[in-house]
């Protein structure tokens, strides 16, 4: 797989996207609480 294909596959994989979104939400919450 090329780098582009791998990147696209990762970014459309729920196993990666869900943890990434949860991380972003957690970081936003942390900044808001600080």
């Amino acid at each position: 797989m090329t780098l582009f294909e791998t990147t696209r596959t990762i970014l459309t994989d729920s196993h990666f996207v869900i943890p990434l979104l949860v991380f972003c939400a957690g970081l936003a919450l942390l900044i808001a609480l600080h």
Binding site: S14, I18, P19, L33
Partner: protein
């Protein structure tokens, strides 16, 4: 090896299925033979993760929780290059990481989730106190159970009895952890709710639960892709350390943060590093439990750490010496509920149909990322062939010597605080740690050579 009787049973069950499903079941049947190993790893993880907090009790520094977390995570990172390096040389680990490059970012993300979740608990305690915050973030194993079912098909095709055992067992362990946690809370602010901040505190605790529970997605994904837990932990600790450094720089005073300048920190680092060392061994057992049992069974079992945390606090540090009857009853009843919960989860042995859905997850990963199914399956089942890269290089010994040297240097400069310690119980519980590690390590080596 699977016993002939089990194989016959599997073939009897698969004869009633479609050919595709049956192939999956036969392939995944080997995974089932790892149930006992997974249970041993899960329970060993509980023992070690519960003990990880003990050395940090010797730190009375006035350092911020961010700084303490950063030092402990630095200890975790350093400790990863001690004993674990000797289990599989760095050549093997880097070859494994290079073969599954797409998982690097996922493992780093898992470390980042851990660091943010851990920091959120600080805010939760500040705003609503431990009494409210602790039960909320302890539900993380239930979040993991949900992701395991939704994303990896765990418990899919399981018998109603097994589903009940896993779900009720996990609930019992969460309830017991809360009871045991309450037994150690005293009036010193543990139940303080700051007016106007209750909502933000509850959000922080729920956020920590969600982040920790979601962190198990990368764990499971790595193993159904054939990654070795030692490789995963390597990338995980980088994500953890990088995020903690960033959080201290952003939220705890930047480069002027006390942790970087306080002369006192040097004398306490050893205890935090020691906590990190114990944590990384516990985490490795947890990783192997997740690999061989899945999230739904592995995480609740390793969350029995609360019982060992209370044992260290009560027996070694005398934390329950002045506890009233209600607190002592909480300890006894919490321990009983936790043991029953662990018993329920550990006896829920997956059937052939459940193994089939595990195999479907493996096939999904192989198709999606163009991985070789047979090598992924062998790695997942812990039966992969041993290659040249497993041999340790001379640099591995240098890495271990440098990491051990760091511990030695900090140990020489450590200051032992004047804290009442029961040395008899310290020896007993340290003995339990070593026996558990020896048994778990031997079982893993014998069955999988730490694969």
């Amino acid at each position: 090896m699977i016993a002939h009787r089990e194989i016959l049973q599997i073939y009897r069950e698969t004869s009633e299925m479609s050919e595709t499903t049956a192939t999956g079941v036969r392939a995944a049947a080997h995974i089932g033979s790892r149930h006992g190993l997974g249970v041993v790893c899960g329970l060993a993880a509980g023992v070690w993760l519960g003990a990880a907090e003990a050395p940090t009790k010797l730190v009375n520094s006035g350092l911020s929780p961010f700084a303490i977390s950063l030092c402990m995570v630095a200890g975790v990172f350093t400790a990863r290059w001690t004993v674990p390096t000797m289990l599989k040389g760095s050549r093997y680990v880097f070859a494994d990481l290079a073969a599954k490059k797409h998982l690097l970012i996922t493992a780093i993300l898992a470390g980042m989730l851990w660091a943010v979740a851990n920091t959120l608990t600080v805010f939760a305690i500040r705003d609503v106190g431990l009494t409210i915050a602790f039960p909320l973030w302890n539900t993380n194993s239930l979040v993991g159970l949900m992701w395991g079912r939704l994303l990896f098909g765990e418990l899919k095709g399981a018998s109603a009895k097994n589903i009940a055992k896993v779900v009720l067992g996990a609930l019992a362990i969460v309830a017991a952890a809360v009871m045991l946690g309450f037994s150690t809370f005293h009036g010193n602010g543990s139940g303080t709710v700051h007016a106007g901040r209750a909502v933000s505190g509850i959000l922080a605790a729920l956020g920590a639960s969600l982040l920790w529970g979601t962190m198990y997605i990368p764990y499971r994904k790595a193993y159904i892709s054939g990654m070795n837990p030692l490789s995963f932990v390597t990338a995980f600790t980088i994500g953890e350390l990088g995020t903690m450094v960033a959080l201290v720089l952003a939220l705890d005073g930047g480069t002027k943060a006390a942790v970087f300048h306080s002369p006192e920190a040097k004398h306490m680092l050893f205890w935090l590093f020691l906590g990190g060392f114990v944590w990384v061994i516990g985490d490795l057992f947890q990783q192997f439990a997740t690999k061989y049992l899945g999230i739904g069974r592995g995480i609740p079992l390793s969350n029995t750490n609360q019982i060992w945390g209370v044992a260290w606090g009560a027996l070694v540090f005398g934390e329950l010496a002045h506890a009233d009857l209600a607190h002592k009853l909480l300890v006894v009843s919490g321990s009983v509920v936790m043991i029953l919960g662990a018993l329920a989860v550990s006896t829920a042995v997956a059937t052939a149909r459940e193994h089939s859905s595990t195999n479907d997850s493996l096939v999904r990963e192989c198709t999606r990322y163009n991985l070789d199914y047979h090598s992924v399956f062998q790695a997942y089942a812990g039966t992969g062939t041993r290659g040249e890269e497993e041999k340790r290089g001379w640099w591995d010994y240098v890495i271990v010597a440098v990491a051990a040297g760091a511990f030695l240097y900090l140990g020489v400069n450590a200051r032992v605080p004047s804290l009442a310690i029961d040395f008899r119980w310290l020896c007993v519980l340290s003995g339990v740690l070593f026996v558990t590690a020896a048994m778990g390590g031997w079982a893993l080596w014998k069955a999988t050579r730490f694969s």
